[in-house]
């Protein structure tokens, strides 16, 4: 422990604590802009500078560790003056468009300017306007608003291992831009949106599609259905200042109905469908390898629900294409089923139906625009709104979200199981798949407490589990005594680690779940900001709570999915499934 004083108050904190954290323990908040816990502590925005007695210059509190006897001052005139200068410099280099900015009232720079009482900026603006980068379906970059905190660079390079965003040029002319070209579309960008999720200002955002959805809702000739991804219900509340991890499925359903959607459905429905298709695919692959000794069938099989991961794989590891499950993501399965099966059911033409998705994800905007995603004959999913966009959408409609009553989703595509809920977080797809696959093979429930595969839960980057199968049903006898090895990775940097081990032969798995974003979809690039590890934990906790409260907790128990097979698809991996629910990938590597 180190005994220090902060603003003449005695504090005792463990050695190695940063001044920033030490100050927090006694209720002193030191302002930060570039700092993002567990992501980067670069000490470069200089907002967090404090005075340490004996030091020649001011010290960045986010990285400076306390030492015994340190005397720290966080709020002297010198510091206040310096912070003001920094803020005024940043504001002189920032377009003053707060009222029309995506981040209005949700901007870290704006908030600090307010807190520090910046009434005028003594420096003249000398900024030259740079063009917006709207070249991709998911992400918009406004380099004019960028304050060069480099959070996006760190997540893109270190957390995601993609390395698209990097500082270019130097000094006042420095901009953060795709390393290969000036536009994101010309560079390798997987559209995961983690950059947008960490941006403190309005420099990187999702592409705003709210107006298009309004237009569809206003069109009397359109029948607009909405699907909500499993991760939304545990995060949307944050847009309305509810605590992270507040479950708002009922309020969200009520709000969507008030907004005028003709049917409020759940992506969970097709998450359950995915498990049936993907689980069957896995078992079929295992059979082909173990029984038929088919050399053309690749193992391990990787999940395919995360479009950021698919983009990453196509760009960096196209050699894995045979290993990727051919299942479309639940979002795209939903679109294809809604415009065929459901359209038929309600007597509408596919052209009359508009499918809107609410996703925690920016890559979903990219995914729905992929050429091959029109199995129904038209674009399967028309528009994707992120969680943040839905928050704004609800506010635009003047809906008092927090005080809404809970409502139920519509049948049939609003019916789902707990296994679908947990698609929202890392380890969830794996757990859901095992719940079903084990039962198909053995006829028994998976032998874990509360049906949870606890070794693949949590925020460790790479998780593993092994499951020995015995007591198989006759048709699955070839799996008797087989130990199935699985791995789970979240965040593309972690995915890369697993892939390298698989490719080098260091590790052998049968099935690997990859989610592009840290924590899985609950930490997606379209979720309310800021998604810290604490926030991730809270959302995951809520998702499991949702799962545990369900009547059905295994995908194959979903009555609506059963009906879908009976009435329409016939069987998993059948001809209709193949056409509507499965896809192909192609190498995007140069």
């Amino acid at each position: 422990m180190a005994n220090i004083t902060i603003n003449n108050m005695k504090v005792e904190v463990p050695e190695g604590t940063t001044i920033l954290d030490a100050a927090k323990t006694i209720g002193i908040k030191i302002p930060t802009l570039c700092y993002l816990k567990n992501v980067q502590e670069p000490g470069s925005c200089r907002m967090c500078l404090v005075e340490v007695e004996g030091a020649k210059t001011l010290q960045p509190s986010c990285v400076t560790q306390v030492s015994e006897g340190m005397k720290i001052h966080t709020n002297t005139k010198k510091i206040r003056d310096t912070r003001k200068i920094i803020l005024e410099l940043l504001l002189s280099d920032h377009p003053w468009e707060c009222n029309t900015c995506d981040r209005n009232q949700d901007c870290e720079l704006q908030k600090l300017a307010d807190e520090y009482g910046i009434k005028e900026v003594r420096f003249q603006s000398v900024k030259e306007r740079l063009p917006l980068d709207e070249s991709t379906p998911g992400i918009v970059r406004d380099p004019n608003k960028c304050i060069l905190c480099r959070r996006c660079v760190t997540v893109c390079q270190e957390v995601q291992g993609v390395g698209t965003l990097a500082p270019r040029a130097r000094g006042f002319n420095t901009i953060i831009a795709p390393g290969q070209g000036n536009l994101l579309s010309e560079a390798v960008c997987v559209q995961c949106g983690q950059c947008a999720a960490v941006c403190p200002v309005g420099a990187i955002t999702e592409k705003d599609d709210i107006d298009k959805v309004w237009e569809a809702l206003d069109d009397p000739n359109k029948y607009v259905v909405v699907q909500t991804a499993p991760a939304i219900r545990a995060a949307l509340g944050e847009c309305f200042d509810l605590e992270p991890g507040t479950l708002v499925k009922g309020k969200m359903t009520a709000a969507l109905k008030m907004l005028g959607f003709n049917a409020v459905f759940d992506t969970n429905f097709t998450a359950d469908l995915t498990i049936l298709e993907e689980g069957t695919e896995l078992l079929t692959r295992l059979k082909k390898v173990l029984v038929d000794k088919d050399k053309k069938v690749a193992l391990p099989m990787f999940t395919s629900c995360s479009p950021g991961w698919i983009n990453y794989m196509e760009n960096f590891y196209p050699e894995l294409i045979p290993n990727i499950s051919t299942c479309k993501s639940p979002q795209q399965m939903f679109g294809a089923v809604a415009k065929t099966y459901y359209a038929n059911k309600i007597g509408k033409k596919k052209e009359e139906i508009v499918v809107v998705s609410i996703m925690p994800c920016t890559a979903k905007k990219f995914e729905c625009n992929r050429e091959e995603m029109n199995a129904s004959g038209v674009k399967d999913v028309d528009y994707v709104l992120t969680t943040r966009e839905l928050g704004k959408f609800i506010k635009q409609a003047g809906i008092d979200f927090v005080n809404l009553p809970d409502e139920e989703m519509d049948a049939p595509m609003g019916i789902s199981t707990g296994a679908a809920d947990i698609f929202a977080n890392t380890g969830g797809v794996m757990e859901a798949a095992l719940r079903t696959a084990y039962e198909i093979v053995t006829g028994r429930e998976i032998p874990f407490n509360g049906l949870h595969v606890s070794s693949v839960q949590g925020l460790d980057g790479v998780k593993e589990a092994s499951l020995k199968i015995d007591g198989t049903k006759e048709e699955w006898a070839f799996l008797e005594g087989v130990t199935v090895n699985v791995a789970v990775a979240h965040g593309l940097g972690n995915a890369k680690k697993v892939i390298e081990k698989v490719l080098s032969g260091e590790k052998q798995y049968h099935f690997i779940e990859i989610m592009a974003c840290p924590g899985g979809c609950i930490g997606g690039g379209g979720q309310p900001r800021m998604t810290t590890d604490e926030v991730r934990q809270a959302r995951i906790k809520a998702i499991y709570k949702e799962d545990e409260g369900r009547k059905y907790r295994k995908s194959h128990e979903n009555p609506a999915v059963k009906a879908l097979y009976e009435e329409f698809l016939v069987k998993p991996l059948g001809e209709k499934s193949h056409h509507l629910l499965h896809t192909k990938y192609s190498s995007k590597k140069d």
Binding site: L33, P42, G43, S44, C45, R46, L49, T57, L58, P60, V63, K78, D81, T82, I85, I86, L89, L90, L91, S92, D93, W96, E97, C98, N99, T100, C101, N104, Q105, Q110, K111, A113, D114, I118, K119, E120, V121, R122, F123, Q124, V126, I147, L148, P167, A169, R170, G171, F172, N173, T174, D241
Partner: protein, 547 residues
């Protein structure tokens, strides 16, 4: 000198004179000497800079000490005829000043006798830098041999500590102490890095040292390697320093052939390899952590300290980074002892300092003088006085250096004396300006430089340097705001307190010292009627309340 001739002609071949045809002049000299049948009496020797730097190709005659400047190829025939056939000075090109005379360094004490002892430049302009035999003939590599055979690493560090040598790169950190930090680390491998990224405008002493005496630098690096436990050294050098690079490469090869570098040096079990890395011309890469980033192939930007390079430097291994001039001091200190070294300079800042003197002086060039001589002495004793007009100001230490006015002419140039009056010694450039120079113009140039070289990592420096430039631009046009100077001063202080690295911090040096001594002149650029049209929070769109 290795050759037994009656007279020697030293041709100063350095980065500047190469461009003025020094190599052709050397060839022509040899031809002419041969033609006159003097080749057994007069030898022509290629050497590094002889001293003067604005006098074109300079040749020196040994032992008389005469120097000839602005020598061209067509002068050579006449010059050889006059000087060596007729035996009289060739008046047309004769320079006023003479080469620095030889003195016995062993018995020299700068506080007892008037000048002239050179430690760092002892061999420069005298020996052929491309001939390792000449370096050895001057006692080269003796210090390394002594260290490897007779001293423990701890003893070497103790000698360095006792000598009081301080880093010559600008910050003046005690060298022995720095070495002891890297020596303490258990991690291996360790690295010695010679910082030859000399980017401070007007400073090129390191280049002239490397061009004139490359082995001296290598020997210093090897001794450092032995002291801290490193077997690899890197010279991080400006890519533009082509002649230095050539000579260092040759020196490394020659030394390895003789077993003075490489494996089993002097037959001991100590190995030391030196490699060269070229920089791409970024100023901030002279800052040691940016240098490390650049060496590792990353963007040239400073790293957070701690960890300091001694703990986690190149490739995250313990690393000692020293300036070229610092390393050139090592061998003489080992050979002659710490006590000898302390006879030069002042008590607090022992030794000599190599300066490049530039600007409105009669003799600009490279000098080595004891620490603690005054600015006045530098100008009038070494640089031949002001070339025209009156002395107005001097900037010492390059663009990041302070501006001194006439009232500081008698301040002693050493770390401590300058600190006492609130200034820094810096890197070794002394720029002398006469009364024709406008403070505003000059500072605008400095600010343009900083703006151009700021790496863009920290907000203060990135935007602050730009705003500084804009302010001086307005002052120059006499369109500055009524409170411009106050804003400049506040911004300079902010840059100094809040910048991430010394680049931004040192913007304050020229600005604040200029305001201190030349406020009245700076104020002439202000238009008292020009006021800011403040942008208020409402106009800026900043919203007041937060829920």
């Amino acid at each position: 000198m290795s050759k037994r001739s009656i007279a020697q002609i030293l041709v100063g071949i350095d980065g500047n004179t190469v461009l003025s045809g020094a190599r052709k002049i050397k060839t022509k000299l040899i031809t002419e000497i041969n033609k006159q049948g003097l080749s057994d009496q007069v030898s022509v020797i290629e050497t590094g800079s002889i001293g003067p730097i604005n006098k074109g190709v300079v040749i020196g005659i040994y032992p008389t000490g005469e120097m000839y400047g602005n020598v061209t190829e067509k002068d050579i025939a006449e010059f050889v005829q006059e000087k060596f056939v007729k035996g009289r000075p060739y008046k047309k090109l004769l320079l006023e000043e003479k080469m620095q005379p030889e003195i016995d360094l062993k018995t020299y004490d700068s506080r007892k006798t008037q000048y002239f002892g050179r430690i760092v430049l002892d061999n420069c302009g005298k020996i052929n830098p491309e001939d390792i035999e000449e370096y050895i003939g001057m006692g080269g590599y003796q210090a390394l041999g002594t260290v490897l055979k007779e001293k423990t690493p701890e003893e070497v560090i103790q000698i360095m500590k006792n000598s009081g040598l301080r880093g010559r790169g600008g910050a003046g950190f005690p060298t022995g102490l720095k070495w002891s930090f890297a020596a303490q680390e258990k991690e291996s491998p360790k690295y010695v890095i010679c910082n030859a990224d000399e980017g401070e405008p007007g400073t090129f002493k390191d280049r002239l040292i490397m061009e004139g005496d490359p082995h001296r630098v290598l020997e210093g690096m090897a001794i450092c390697g032995y002291a801290i436990g490193a077997n690899t050294g890197y010279i991080y050098i400006r890519g533009e320093y082509q002649l230095s690079i050539q000579r260092l490469e040759k020196a490394i090869n020659d030394a390895e052939k003789l077993g003075l570098l490489g494996k089993n040096i002097f037959g001991t079990d100590f190995d030391f390899k030196v490699k060269i890395k070229m920089g791409a011309g970024s100023y901030v890469c002279g800052e040691e952590t940016s240098l490390l980033n650049s060496m590792e192939g990353f963007r040239g930007e400073p790293r957070l300290k701690p960890p300091f390079p001694a703990k986690s430097g190149f490739l995250s291994k313990p690393t000692n980074v020293n300036n070229v001039e610092t390393l050139a001091n090592i061998a003489p200190i080992i050979l002659n002892g710490a006590e000898w070294f302390k006879k030069f300079g002042t008590v607090d800042s022992p030794g000599t300092k190599v300066y490049t003197i530039l600007g409105h002086v009669n003799r600009s060039g490279l000098i080595e003088v004891p620490m603690g001589i005054t600015l006045r002495e530098v100008i009038y004793d070494y640089a031949g006085g002001i070339s025209s007009g009156e002395f107005k100001m001097a900037q010492i230490g390059g663009t990041a250096g302070d501006i001194l006015s006439a009232e500081l002419l008698d301040v002693a140039l050493d770390y401590k004396s300058l600190q006492e009056v609130g200034h820094n010694l810096g890197s070794g450039a002394i720029l002398i300006m006469n009364d024709s120079v406008s403070v505003v113009d000059f500072l605008k140039c400095c600010m343009k430089f900083f703006m151009h070289e700021s790496c863009g990592r920290c907000s203060v420096c990135r935007i602050g340097t730009k705003q500084m430039y804009e302010s001086f631009n307005r002052l120059e046009k006499k369109e500055a705001y009524f409170d411009e100077l106050k804003n400049i001063e506040e911004l300079a202080k902010g840059l100094n307190l809040a910048s991430f690295c010394p680049l931004g911090q040192s913007v304050a040096s020229p600005v604040l010292s200029a305001i201190k001594y030349f406020e009245a002149e700076l104020s002439e650029g202000i238009n008292p009627n020009k006021i800011h049209e403040p942008v208020t929070r409402e106009e800026s769109g900043i919203v007041f309340s937060y829920s």
